[in-house]
């Protein structure tokens, strides 16, 4: 377990968010791109049309491999912090950036 300050945690989380987002973009691009590119080719693999097999089964494989890589190289274990006391039932005021 790594001990990070709040600021380091925030930075680390932003990094993880960025890479997760990049992975979903890659999966989406693959899934959409190959479906439209290969649609119309008359070929079957295990009872599935070629375009479907490459785009959807492929997107599944990329998702799983991608998550494994993310967990290995990007995501980091750290302490999530302590539980606050239970006194949080108050109405809130302010919150406007300019009221300070």
């Amino acid at each position: 377990l790594n001990f990070l300050t709040d600021e380091e945690k925030h930075k680390q989380m932003l990094k993880e968010i960025k890479w997760t987002f990049l992975l979903i973009l890659l999966v989406a691009a693959w899934h959409i791109g190959f479906a439209f590119a290969l649609d119309g080719i008359d070929m079957m693999i295990w009872g599935m049309p070629l375009w479907f097999f490459v785009s959807t089964i492929g997107a599944f494989v990329i998702s799983v491999v991608g998550v494994i890589l993310l967990l290995k190289f990007v995501f980091v274990n750290f302490d999530l912090g302590d539980e606050a006391s239970d006194e949080v039932l108050t109405a809130v005021e302010g919150g406007d950036c300019d009221d300070r």
């Binding site: 709040d6 945690k9 925030h10 989380m13 993880e16 968010i17 890479w19 997760t20 992975l23 979903i24 999966v27 989406a28 899934h31 959409i32 479906a35 439209f36 649609d39 119309g40 079957m44 295990w46 009872g47 599935m48 049309p49 375009w51 479907f52 785009s55 959807t56 997107a59 599944f60 998702s63 799983v64 991608g66 998550v67 993310l70 967990l71 995501f75 980091v76 274990n77 750290f78 302490d79 999530l80 912090g81 302590d82 539980e83 606050a84 006391s85 239970d86 006194e87 949080v88 039932l89 108050t90 109405a91 809130v92 005021e93 302010g94 919150g95 406007d96 950036c97 300019d98 300070r100």
Partner: protein, 496 residues
């Protein structure tokens, strides 16, 4: 009732009892082990989920009756493999939601004691208007979604066992409502885990028997060519390219904005659990969604010459045709599990929102006397609220008013447009203030509803795309215009 129907009913009853017993025993054990306050035990399971439970509850909440009945049925009868492609979009949902929101929600909710999405929004934006707006909208959509799920489940039980609709509904609605009300979040997530496993088993059974019945794939292709011409094309059965791409927003990236899924980021134990859940959840979602819909597309070869009232009847009919009755009973448990896991998750979050975000914050307020009383009775009132919402939904499901169906059309897209930018923008945008959040929710939902209702769209693109686009523009433009000096110091400390 025929013998087959009796066997189905028996399997179903055993399965329901198992759910109730496991849910209640496990939640009581968790409660004894935890030293947290009642609210955190009841509404958040003391933030104790491990990786497998987190993965399964995320996937099970997300998978609904349509993943087993409507979706595969549409693949068989109407859309062929293009429907299976649409289902494939959902493969990324688990790692997307957990990877983007998981740790941020875990850290912020521990600092602020939040157990709901509105609780996070309150800490992040400090706006009463936003809390009330999002909570009320969420409750309305949740009620219509629960009704739709219950109706789907009851119709299915009715068609398989021959029991009257109302009795089918009583049998399983009472089980869901009871274990959710008595056991709270811990019971919801442990039964979700059991239900997720049942759904995976159901998927494998479905694929196995479909493949066995269609014979070889060449014969299947010949049958499908007659039954559903264009079954093997992407756009030949009715989906437009714009409509297909929209699914990447509606059931792909947009699911980050679904509060019932996002709230799971507040309930896990440590970062290791989250990492395990991202992988397990992705595998489970992929097997389930792709498996059921590929099976559905293949099932189109078996329904030649049959007429169905709607595609929802295809899968139950095919099941009875190809599976021995005992196996069909086990398969039937999968869509029922999907109904129960979705409803129980919506129910507990609805109850948490009413008790904590509305009642606790705006009726009890700061009066110390009232507060002490509220705290003293919080266990009874939480239980009562959960039970009451459950009963209300049950009664409405018996004879649903027409408006329910109309509202439910907007439920998924509406929730996404309402919550997406306040949640996602709030994670990283330091100028995202309450003005930005409120305007993005209001504008997003309005644009979505208007464009949906009046079919204002181009290239067949789904209204949710326009709603999220408008909401996003509103969030960033209004944030950068109104937030000159940055956010309050305490918001920066708790949320960044």
């Amino acid at each position: 009732m025929t013998d087959n129907q009796k066997i189905m009913l028996a399997i179903m009853v055993v399965y329901l009892i198992a759910n109730a017993v496991i849910g209640l025993i496990y939640s009581k054990r968790q409660e004894r082990l935890s030293e947290m306050s009642f609210e955190k035990k009841y509404f958040m399971g003391s933030r104790g989920m491990n990786g497998i439970v987190l993965a399964m509850t995320t996937v099970a909440t997300y998978a609904s009756v349509s993943s087993f009945i409507s979706g595969p049925g549409a693949a068989a009868m109407t859309y062929g493999f293009s429907q299976a492609w649409v289902a494939g979009v959902q493969v990324g949902a688990a790692f997307l939601v957990l990877g983007i929101l998981g740790k941020k929600f875990a850290v912020v909710s521990r600092k602020t004691g939040a157990v709901t999405i509105a609780g996070y929004l309150k800490a992040r934006y400090k706006s009463d208007a936003l809390v009330i707006l999002t909570t009320v909208l969420m409750l309305v959509f949740f009620v219509t979604q629960m009704i739709a799920q219950f109706m789907g489940g009851a119709t299915l039980v009715e068609s398989m066992t021959g029991l009257p609709y109302w009795l089918s509904l009583v049998i399983f609605a009472s089980v869901v409502i009871l274990y959710t009300a008595f056991g709270g979040f811990s019971a919801v997530v442990i039964t979700d885990t059991l239900q997720g496993i049942i759904m995976l088993i159901g998927t494998f059974l479905f694929l196995f028997y479909i493949v066995r019945s269609v014979g070889d794939f060449d014969a299947m292709a010949v049958a499908l060519d007659t039954n559903l011409p264009g079954w093997d094309t992407l756009t030949g059965t009715g989906y437009t390219p714009g409509g297909l791409l929209s699914f990447w927003v509606l059931v792909g990236v947009g699911v980050i904005g679904l509060p019932q899924t996002a709230v799971r980021g507040m309930g896990f134990k440590d970062t290791k659990s989250l990492h395990t859940a991202m992988l397990v959840g992705t595998v489970a979602a992929g097997v389930l969604m792709i498996g059921m819909h590929v099976g559905g597309a293949w099932a189109g070869a078996l329904i030649g010459g049959q007429e169905f009232a709607s595609s929802d009847y295809v899968i139950p009919s095919v099941i009875q045709q190809i599976m021995p009755v005992g196996v069909a009973g086990i398969f039937l448990a999968a869509p029922m599990a999907a109904v129960m896991s979705t409803v129980s998750s919506l129910l507990i979050l609805a109850s948490a929102s009413i008790v904590k975000d509305l009642w606790g914050t705006y009726i009890v307020k700061d009066n110390p006397e009232k507060k002490a009383k509220f705290q003293k009775n919080v266990s009874k009132s939480s239980f009562a609220v959960t039970l009451l919402i459950g009963v209300l939904v049950f009664v409405l499901t018996l004879t649903p008013p027409d408006i329910i169906f109309w509202v439910n059309l907007f439920a998924m897209g509406g929730l996404e447009c309402c919550f997406f930018w306040p949640i996602v923008g709030g994670v990283f945008y330091k100028k995202g203030n309450k003005q930005a959040a409120i305007s993005s929710s209001v504008i997003g939902v309005l644009v979505y509803v208007i464009s949906y209702q009046f079919k204002l769209t181009v290239w067949g693109i789904n209204a949710v795309v326009w709603g999220l686009l408008a909401g996003g523009i509103a969030y960033f433009v209004i944030g950068s215009m109104t937030c000159k000096d940055g956010l309050d110091q305490d918001v920066l400390e708790t949320c960044f």
